[in-house]
């Protein structure tokens, strides 16, 4: 009984941490740079499919199956999702800020369409199976297998967190925030805003791709249904609840929201009769939507909120200047 519980807990945390990776990617785009991505699910899907194509054994009925090691799949996933982000960013970044939102929404629609219809590459609605899973040698012992996967994902999240924290307090990260707060001032100081935004958008997209690959290899099977708009909404809820602009908040938000999601799912599952399950799931998503709006209205900072000072040269300043600890959400100048 306790072993079952431990195995479930390990499984739950592994899934939550894979969401944490996506949320960290979104935090680079939105939290740090103020770029609104409504197509998160699309970028995650690009990563998942790229990695699946690279690592699955050769399949006669579709293109690819190159049988490469998992780590190559992960690298390929980051590259593919990063390149797609770069292309979308290059297309819209010069224009109004909400054109990027519309274009990313379009990307998610088109990725979904390709996953469904390009049967010879993506396997169509049935998706791709037999994706190699890490630690298959432990597969005989479910608990050990879950713990090994959990450890791997925890390591990925930790490495990513340290890397992003370092990057955030580096000159590059500080320029991103400067551009987000006041683009004209940053440009006047000689920082090419467009190039920095593109880099941040591509980096965030690549991280989402990595998350897609990690999920695909953990579950061992992918299908277009995994990448519906609901995924995008969940990730947004995670970032907003945790506190956008804060990497620890992104991870915390992913675990908290995933826990609430799983919990409310099982409550709804036990309260509503069997014929109403699909409708009850819709109610669950509707509540997420209301929650998202409520947080935007009443607590835009989320649980942890953003640290306003990231440079170690300014550590003593925050209390002296009240304007630096105000309650405003991340804002970008009217484009």
């Amino acid at each position: 009984m306790i072993l079952d519980l431990a195995a479930y807990l390990a499984f739950f945390l592994t899934v939550a941490l894979s969401y944490a990776v996506i949320t960290l990617g979104l935090n680079v785009q939105w939290g740090q740079t103020g770029l609104f991505n409504v197509g998160v699910a699309g970028f995650v899907a690009v990563g998942a499919y790229a990695s699946a194509l690279l690592t699955t054994p050769d399949a006669p009925d579709r293109f690819g199956g190159f049988g490469l090691p998992i780590i190559v799949g992960w690298a390929g996933a980051m590259l593919a999702a990063g390149l797609v982000s770069l292309a979308v960013g290059a297309l819209t970044m010069r224009l109004r800020s909400d054109y990027l939102a519309i274009a990313t929404f379009g990307v998610a629609v088109v990725v979904q369409l390709c996953a469904l219809n390009l049967q010879t590459v993506t396997g169509g609605p049935f998706g791709i199976g037999f994706i190699p899973r890490p630690f298959t040698s432990f597969a005989g012992d479910p608990l050990l297998f879950s713990l090994a996967n959990l450890a791997l994902l925890a390591l990925v999240v930790l490495a990513l967190y340290l890397f992003l924290e370092r990057l955030l307090s580096s000159p590059w990260g500080r320029v991103l925030r400067a551009i987000r707060e006041d683009e004209a001032a940053a440009t006047a100081l000689g920082k090419p805003a467009l190039r920095f935004r593109l880099q941040a958008f591509a980096l965030g997209g690549a991280i989402m791709g990595l998350a897609g690959a990690a999920q695909a290899h953990f579950i061992g099977f992918i299908a277009p249904d995994n990448y519906l708009p609901t995924l995008t909404f969940q990730v947004w809820a995670m970032l907003i609840v945790g506190g956008s602009g804060n990497n620890r908040g992104a991870i915390l938000g992913a675990v908290v929201v995933w826990a609430l999601w799983a919990l409310s799912g099982s409550v709804i599952g036990s309260v509503f009769p069997a014929g109403w399950q699909a409708r009850a799931a819709a109610l669950q998503i509707a509540l997420i939507g209301v929650g998202l709006c409520a947080i935007l209205l009443w607590r835009p900072r989320g649980i942890l909120g953003e640290r306003r000072i990231v440079s170690r040269h300014l550590v003593t300043a925050p209390k002296a200047n009240p304007s630096l600890v105000n309650n405003t959400p991340p804002e970008i100048p009217h484009a």
Binding site: G34, F36, V38, L91, T92, R94, L95, R96, S97, D98, Y99, A101, I102, A103, F105, G106, V107, V109, V110, L113, L116, N117, P229, F233, W236, A278, R279, A280, A282, L283, Q284, I285, A286, L287, I288, G289, V290, G291, L292, C293, L296, L297, P300, P329, E331, I332, P333, H334, A335
Partner: protein, 305 residues
């Protein structure tokens, strides 16, 4: 065959155009891309469905088909009710959500995000209430008429094109010829200056929501009449609506209507040439092409970005 695709495209385009006019109005006057606009289309369709059902069962004579059309007088009456109810819904969402955010001086992108949360809640509420199974205004099969050129069209389809174009012309005249229309355009240009000049900006905001939601309800009702009513119908329409609003040039009502027809025609020809499964990609191709070649749209003024 080409003529038939042309007609299918115009019918579909009339629905997209009506929705896109609403998007372009909210976009230019309230200054954000409203991701919840598709949901106003869906809610409009469900409102019309419920009212039509209630009227038809209360007074059987209202359900009897009018002339060549598939519906009775209950539908036009239900449509008027749906327009009013959708407008009320839009005002309610604005009062609860967008209004407070505007007063706090939130950035554009926060409003976009709020609209995204509202869309999520509204769409799934519909799915909770009505389940995802499609609904139909009528189960009767309508016989298509033969038109010159070997085209087949049902009277309902021709009516959709006619009403779509008629409403777009009427709205264009309203915006260009009436004091309220001029005030709306002034607010689109510069809300502060318009306020200083004595225009009640809050009244204009309400007018925009009423017009946008009303047109969305008409679009939803026609979409439901010609195809079917589903909770996801607004989500599926959202990308075509945005593509059409941007192609037409943000703020241009005739532009949005014409661009809606273009997107609709594009979809109809894609269905013939590439296959029905790729239809949803057409709007994205249009969007990318506009953003690459002419970001201000066909009829948009090049505004300081």
């Amino acid at each position: 065959m080409i003529a038939q695709a042309l007609l299918d495209g115009l019918v579909n385009g009339a629905v997209i155009g009506l929705g896109a006019v609403g998007v372009t109005l909210t976009y230019s006057i309230l200054r954000f891309a409203n991701f919840a606009h598709g949901e106003l289309v869906s809610w409009g369709a469900y409102f019309a469905f419920l009212l039509n059902l209630a009227l038809g069962s209360a007074l059987l004579s209202l359900g009897a088909p009018i002339g060549p059309f598939s519906f009775g007088w209950s539908l036009p009456i239900a449509l008027v009710g749906a327009v009013l109810l959708s407008a009320t819904l839009a005002l309610l969402v604005d009062w609860l959500l967008f209004g407070p955010l505007r007063r706090k001086g939130s950035a554009v992108i926060i409003l976009v995000m709020a609209s995204f949360g509202a869309a999520l809640a509204l769409r799934n509420l519909l799915e909770f209430l009505f389940s995802s199974a499609p609904l139909y205004f009528t189960n009767a099969l309508q016989i298509a008429m033969r038109l010159p050129g070997g085209i087949r069209a049902t009277p309902d389809q021709l009516l959709a094109i006619g009403i779509g174009l008629g409403l777009a012309v009427a709205l264009h005249l309203f915006l260009t010829r009436t004091p309220t229309g001029r005030a709306m355009r002034a607010v689109a240009e510069n809300p502060q200056l318009a306020g200083v000049a004595g225009i009640d900006v809050r009244r204009i905001v309400r007018t925009v929501w009423v017009l946008g939601a009303g047109l969305a309800a008409v679009a939803g009702t026609f979409s439901g009449l010609l195809v079917q009513i589903r909770p996801q119908m607004g989500l599926d329409l959202l990308l075509p609506l945005f593509a059409a609003a941007i192609l037409g040039g943000i703020g241009s009502v005739p532009g949005a209507m014409i661009a809606g027809l273009i997107v609709g025609l594009g979809e109809a020809f894609a269905v013939r040439l590439v296959g029905a499964e790729w239809r949803a990609g057409v709007a994205f191709v249009v969007l990318v092409a506009v953003l690459l070649l002419r970001p201000q749209g066909l009829f948009g003024a090049r505004r300081a970005a």
